[in-house]
């Protein structure tokens, strides 16, 4: 009976506040949404930059240079053997002639054209599956180097390591930026909720006057603030989602060819965490702001 009555009272007063000051509540949710859009945008940068880093952190290919004098049969045997090796997606044989043709496609460079045929060794271009690890790539390379017909194996690991470290730096910088934005969001939410509660201080005063307990005063405000925080975060995700959809619809092809990966929206766990953060911040700021007001 008692808890039922309390829940009823809370429902009544929460509804009353929403009904009597609807425009103010909508404005509050919009203010919170604007703050959360900044946070979601920075998280979107972090997510996609991390995806680009992951994409470029492994080359996913290797070039096996064959020794001079390797016969076509030996090269074909090696190609067949590689095709059945784990993590190998595709193998292509590039003969000396093909290599020379590819390099000399621009006939303006006479120095290159003057090079002997031996300067363009035959090779096997090996493409690996996406789940190949650096270790298994290196093991495969070691085994290939041990073969008598193989001159050397280039796995492009150093290049990818440099690129990966560069992109890793970018991810770290964007995480720092997201943290700063998060601090700003916390500040904006705190100020917004405090202003909202300050505007409604007369309500708190009246509640204390008629003998409301601290919990009775606090609960509906906390429920409201929690709902507003969560609603602000959801609204931000919807706004950013729409914007992301528009940008992706127009520039998806260019972005894929530029970055190597298709840009993706915030994963569900991050979106859910942001909504939870909104609710949590709303509740926390309401509790903190009300602490002084209820001590009358």
């Amino acid at each position: 009976m008692r808890s039922g009555g309390d829940a009823q009272g809370k429902k009544l007063r929460t509804w009353r506040a929403g009904r009597s000051d609807l425009s103010l509540h909508l404005l509050t949710v919009f203010s919170l949404a604007v703050a959360f859009v900044c946070l979601a945008a920075s998280l979107l940068v972090v997510t996609n930059l991390a995806a680009v880093r992951d994409r470029w952190s492994r080359a996913g290919r290797a070039t096996v240079y064959l020794r001079d004098g390797t016969s076509d049969a030996e090269a074909t045997d090696l190609l067949r053997a590689l095709e059945t090796t784990a993590f190998v997606k595709k193998v292509r044989l590039v003969t000396s002639m093909e290599a020379r043709r590819e390099v000399l496609s621009d006939d303006s460079d006479k120095a290159l054209a003057a090079l002997p045929a031996a300067a363009f060794p035959a090779s096997l271009e090996v493409g690996f599956t996406e789940d190949v690890t650096s270790d298994s790539l290196e093991t495969t390379a070691l085994k290939l180097r041990a073969l008598p017909c193989v001159e050397t194996v280039e796995t492009y690991q150093k290049w990818t390591e440099r690129l990966s470290s560069l992109l890793g730096g970018g991810v770290t910088a964007s995480v720092c930026l997201a943290a700063i934005v998060l601090a700003a969001v916390v500040s904006v939410i705190g100020s917004t909720m405090r202003l909202l509660l300050h505007r409604r201080r007369s309500e708190v005063e009246v509640l204390k006057l008629v003998g409301a307990t601290d919990a009775f005063v606090r609960k509906p405000f906390v429920v409201e603030a929690t709902a507003q925080g969560a609603a602000g975060a959801v609204a931000a995700l919807v706004m950013l989602g729409v914007l992301f959809g528009i940008v992706r619809g127009r520039f998806d092809h260019e972005l894929v060819s530029l970055l190597g990966v298709a840009p993706s929206f915030l994963p569900w766990p991050i979106a859910l965490a942001m909504v939870s953060l909104g609710a949590l911040l709303g509740a926390a700021t309401a509790i903190i702001s009300l602490r002084k007001m209820v001590l009358v």
Partner: protein, 268 residues
């Protein structure tokens, strides 16, 4: 003159609950014992004030501005705490109540302010109903009792109006309805007519007299002499931080005022 419990039917002294004390029904509703209160060390507002208010009385508290009328009411409501001395409400020392016990005290006291203290964007109904919602009463009972209270103050049919669109007199009636809807043992009125014209003030006094007639103790703080002269009532004059009791009202020039200390000694 003080009205004793045998003469008038009274509201319940304290709502029944785990700490209900039936012996409270035999005690004076308010006892001030040597109460001191100051906001600044060099300017005490109350200096050893003593006073007894019996159940079912309508008592005017008067005195010049700054004499401590509002302070006295705020001390009863536990919005302020005494520096020294005791204020007993139904035998319980208000100053020693814990923070968690204060809401229970306030639920037994209706308070009417000069500035109404309504939530302007709430409806009249909501402003009155809140006093019952804190008691966790069922919504149906709240509706019935709020309707009765609004009818009693002459505002039936105005429940859906926002409080901010009402006139000053109407807003004060809403505040009175809120103060009485919970059927408190005591109603405190702090200059409730201060913002109203003289005729409205007298009408409102009539409303407080009706509330008193139903058995509720009323403490009415005012500096408006015309209200004190409407009918002979007990008047407590606050002067120099002490209470001087004039049992039959200020219109009777022949009677001898009684100090609070004398009253306490007589009671003892």
């Amino acid at each position: 003159m003080a009205v004793t419990s045998s003469e008038t039917a009274f509201r319940p002294a304290l709502r029944k609950g785990p700490r209900f004390d039936p012996s409270a029904a035999r005690r004076p509703i308010l006892v001030f014992e040597d109460v001191y209160k100051s906001y600044r060390p060099d300017q005490p507002v109350l200096r050893g004030m003593s006073l007894i208010i019996e159940r079912g009385e309508l008592v005017f508290i008067t005195g010049p501005s700054g004499s401590g009328k509002s302070t006295l009411l705020r001390l009863i409501h536990r919005t302020e705490v005494v520096d020294a001395g005791r204020i007993l409400f139904l035998g319980r020392d208000i100053g020693r109540l814990t923070h968690d016990a204060v809401p229970a005290l306030r639920r037994n006291i209706g308070f009417v302010f000069q500035d109404f203290k309504l939530v302007p964007n709430w409806t009249v109904y909501d402003n009155v109903a809140i006093a019952l919602e804190v008691l966790n009463l069922p919504a149906r009972l709240i509706r019935t009792r709020v309707g009765e209270a609004l009818e009693r103050v002459g505002l039936s049919g105005r429940g859906n109006d926002p409080a901010e669109v009402l006139s000053g007199g109407e807003q004060q009636r809403v505040a009175i309805a809120r103060a009485i809807v919970g059927e408190p043992a005591l109603v405190l009125a702090d200059e409730p007519t201060g913002n109203l014209d003289p005729q409205l003030a007298i009408d409102l006094l009539g409303l407080f007299e009706d509330i008193h007639e139903s058995g509720t103790t009323v403490l009415f703080a005012t500096h408006d002499r015309t209200l004190l002269d409407v009918r002979p009532r007990r008047v407590v004059v606050l002067d120099d931080g002490r209470a001087v009791d004039v049992p039959s009202g200020l219109h009777d020039e022949d009677q001898a005022p009684i100090s609070g200390q004398e009253q306490l000694a007589e009671c003892a």
